[in-house]
Amino acid sequence: MLPFLLTSGLTTGALYAMVAIGLVLVYRSTGHINFSHGELFMLGGFFAYSLIMFAGLPYVVALFLAVILSFLLGVISDRLVYRPLIKAPGLTMVLATVGFSYLLKGIGRYFWGGKGEYLSIPAIVDPAPIFINDIPILPQQLIVLGAAVAFMVAFALFFSRTKAGKIMQATSENPTASYLVGIRVENVYTWTWGVGAAVAGAAAVLMTPLTLITPDIGATLLIKAFAATILGGLGSMTGAVVGGFAVGLIEQLASGYIDTSLQEIAAFLVIMVVLVFRPAGLFGVYGQRRA
């Protein structure tokens, strides 16, 4: 049983890590948590569903188009929610993004809800499991894992090697100084929201063939991504990745060895334990938080 739990834990962990990366990206550059991030994931999945099932596009094309649409959705969130409130206190911003998340959830339910509530898209590869040393592995799991790792590596390279990545880092480090050296800080924020949403969209398209997608998936996934970021340390990119995999594994192991119902609340328990005993998480510094 252990190898099976590990593979599925790593796969869902990769998904959580990707969602958490988007959250942390926005948090690092703006100091705000986007409570509508889960809904961006949900809509990304539904975009891909429509592109594949109704427009009949191949999976890979749909993946790219859904990522672009999610990016645009992120840009819309920036223009509609973040930019008008850029100087507002944190409480106002949380209320605004929470409100926005339900607006998006309602839109998702309006267009894609009620079709049996649970939608899935066919896997790009043979859905039958392959056996490696007698461990059943779904080919789609390998694809999710591979693609997630590829995305993470691409991100790391983007931040450390490209000019755009360095500009984003500079903005998150010190917005005022960035203004002074000629960086258009608002435009950087727009890109950050877009890229964060795009990663969520990509995660949704990769995951939908394995799990299912519903209008209500956003809130569930948001909590898991919170757990990942808090475990890793709010604001740490490495922490988000490690935390994502850890939450995925903890969930599977707890449901396999203790009780299946724990899968749903493992993330909650992780959040509680970390906040009570080590609020800084694994890779963060609590004193430097931007709340």
Partner: protein, 320 residues
């Protein structure tokens, strides 16, 4: 001279109107009115936390549920009469609220928001999975309340809710004029300055959480019998959104705002009852639009167009 357009006379006339309503209203109007009173109590409680103390917590929907479940369990499992089960519901929510507040006291801002939103999810999970106590996903069904008066029990329940609602408004406004209420606002404006004024942060915040939980629990106890069914879905994250929308649209840190927000949005919810997605769009959209264009809510409009209208301890700088 007593000014007619000021909170006390307006509130008294509204209360008299509400008391007279059952004489010429049908069963459905009474049901909606009852719901509005319950949501006024909830919104007042959440406003103490969010609007006056400035603590961003998502726990009130869960505490509302705990009040409802505790009342229902006390009645169905232990046969306690409703007159005692209702305060028990309030006390159960108060107890859970204070216990949850203890770890939450260490957290500020976003951390508090994240921890409390996951607590809200957890509570719904417990409601749905603790079958021997909560009845699992099918919930608890209970009999109508036998009040021992002639006439329909719904009408009697309407008056009970109205009385508790009026009491909460009066109590809230008195708390806000007291030392405790001023301490809440001091914490909202600046925790450091509040500590400098010898305000005990831990005790004051715990008081805010506890009071807010008590309001939510009693509202839950009143809510449980009007549907005669207590199910987990009534207390999920959408409930959080409904309450947030009422506080925000009415106006953060305003008693009049809490009343307008609750009554107005109950109307919206009833109008859209058939479609969940339209409710989500309406409530989410209203929060967003209010935050963007009317940050002080309906109460802010009131202050702008009726300069006579005075309410203590509103948020400064909200009126543009």
């Amino acid at each position: 001279m007593l000014k007619l357009i000021s909170p006390v006379p307006v509130f008294c006339s509204a209360a008299i109107f509400a008391a007279a309503l059952p004489a010429f209203a049908n069963q459905y109007t009474i049901f909606v009115g009852n719901l509005a009173f319950i949501y006024i109590i909830l919104t007042l409680g959440l406003n103490l936390l969010l609007g006056y103390t400035g603590l961003l917590a998502f726990v009130n929907a869960a505490l509302f549920g705990i009040g409802a479940y505790a009342t229902a369990i006390a009645r169905t499992k232990f046969g306690i009469p409703y007159g005692f089960a209702l305060p028990l519901g309030g006390l159960a929510a108060l107890a859970v609220g204070v216990v949850v507040a203890l770890p939450a006291l260490r957290l500020t801002g976003l951390y508090l928001a994240l921890a409390s939103i996951s607590f809200a999810q957890f509570a719904v999970w417990v409601f749905a999975h603790w079958d021997p106590v909560t009845g699992g996903p099918t919930g608890i069904r209970m009999a109508a309340v036998a009040y021992g008066f002639s006439g329909s029990w719904e009408t009697v329940h309407y008056y009970v809710s109205l009385a508790i609602c009026i009491a909460s408004v009066v109590v809230t406004s008195n708390i806000l004029r007291s030392r405790v209420g001023r301490s809440f606002v001091a914490i909202r404006e600046s925790e450091v300055a509040a500590e400098g004024l010898a305000i005990d942060l831990t005790r004051t915040k715990t008081t805010a959480y506890g009071l807010s939980a008590l309001y939510a629990g009693i509202a839950g106890g009143l809510f449980a019998p009007i549907l005669t069914l207590v199910v987990p879905e009534s207390y999920d994250l959408f409930q959080v959104i409904v309450q947030f929308a009422m506080v925000v649209v009415g106006g953060l840190g305003s008693i009049a705002g809490a009343i307008f927000g609750a009554v107005g949005l109950i109307g919206v919810q009833e109008a859209l009852r058939a479609t969940k997605e339209l409710q989500e769009i309406a409530f989410g959209g209203m929060i967003l639009l209010t935050v963007l264009f009317l940050p002080s809510g309906l109460a802010g409009l009131l202050r702008k167009y009726l300069p006579e209208w005075r309410e203590p301890l509103r948020r400064r700088g909200d009126d543009r």
